[in-house]
Symmetry: C2
């Protein structure tokens, strides 16, 4: 019997990659508008490389971009980048299509819901609070806060412990075959790979760990319903045999 | 002949103190709304003390607030504080009453305008760009970027050098008797003390350094006009005597 459905956050519940791309483009545009003498395409390409090298939570992207472009340090251009980035982040932050409908249906079926995510805890909570999806969830686990990163088994075990359920009573839904699917499967959970965003065709070495694949989050509702009715049938079969 | 008018930024051109107060109140309110078990008045008081002790550019105010309130670290409450603070900052950031009118009048009189401010260069530029007052100014000098703080004479001398004018050809307008007025007077400039915000009745030991006191920025236009016409009269007097 499935009692808990756990979701990854970025690119599963919240459209992070799409948002980040728009925010970065707007940042570069605003920097050029503020006088930064750079070509848009080159500057955008350098910014993406920089983020790949230093990570997305590095907080001096725009300073370093100027260094990479051989431009002098200029706080005005950096400020223009920060404004372009933050304005976009605040106005464009959105849930993935179907999220609220799916979460509501699962709650109505009596399930407990959780989030398991990596990333900076304050930034992750910002996304949850700004999109106002908090009330659907009974628990939010942020791996960085526990001191590990997915697919480390500890974060999945902590979720099971917090919810007081057995591994086979939990389903994990996520867009990353390695972090989410391989990780949750290792902890004994059922897994649903959400083929969405930039990882929709990557990390395929871990495909075997996915019990289900979906293109739309709303399919999760039917999967959970199916799993629970299968089990009910098996149980009633057993009861029949026991008679 | 006055050729340049220099302005302080915070609480002279931009209503920073009022904004900061609203932003901090909204931050605490949002933290309490997110579940932080604290009394509003106590939490606000602790936040103000903390900012006085650690400075307004310290970037872990909300983390430290939880420590001060003997509460466990909670990234959700911190995120709620950050959201409350930033939303307010972005939506409430405004120029002081009369700023645009004053700047426009001074430009129409053929004057060059500049900003001399302390503070984090990127944050100061954020304020200038967000309020869209940039185009009025021929130069923006941020003391932290030069490695000094007002009233250090170096920042005022740098302004004079950048504009290519003599000290007596520049007027400094600011709300701080010590940083702005004492500093600019030391560099030989004319000074206008803007009695505004929380410093309107403080640092009075430096009152002698103020050539003028105003309650409204728009008075600066008449002061500059007055200074320049006085000089014209003196000059024509001299010409008469020379005849």
């Amino acid at each position: 019997m499935i009692k808990v459905v756990l979701f990854d956050l970025d690119d599963t519940l919240i459209d992070t990659s799409k948002l980040a791309e728009i925010a970065r483009r707007n940042a570069i545009e605003n920097m050029i508008r503020a006088g930064m003498p750079a070509d848009f395409g080159i500057a955008y390409h350098e910014l993406i490389e920089l983020i790949n090298e230093y990570g997305s939570n590095f907080n001096r992207h725009f300073d370093y971009l100027l260094r990479r472009l051989d431009l002098p340090h200029n706080p005005k251009w950096v400020a223009a980048g920060v404004i372009g980035y933050h304005n976009t982040k605040i106005s464009h932050l959105k849930t993935v299509k179907g999220v609220r409908k799916t979460l509501l249906a699962l709650k109505q079926m009596g399930l407990m819901l959780g989030i398991i995510t990596d990333g900076d805890p304050v930034k992750q909570w910002e996304k949850i609070l700004r999109t106002e999806i908090e009330d659907y969830f009974d628990d939010v686990l942020i791996s960085d806060f526990v001191g590990v990163k997915k697919p480390h088994i500890k974060i999945f075990q902590k979720a099971l412990k917090n919810f007081g359920v057995k591994p086979h009573e939990a389903v994990m839904v996520g867009d990353r075959l390695y972090s989410d699917i391989y990780g949750a499967k290792n902890a004994g959970m059922k897994t649903v790979w959400f083929k969405y965003g930039k990882y929709a065709n990557r990390e395929l070495d871990y495909l075997d760990y996915a019990d289900f694949q979906v293109r739309s989050l709303e399919e999760v509702v039917d999967i959970v319903r199916g799993l629970n009715s299968e089990e009910r049938e098996e149980r009633s079969d057993k009861e029949v045999h026991a008679d």
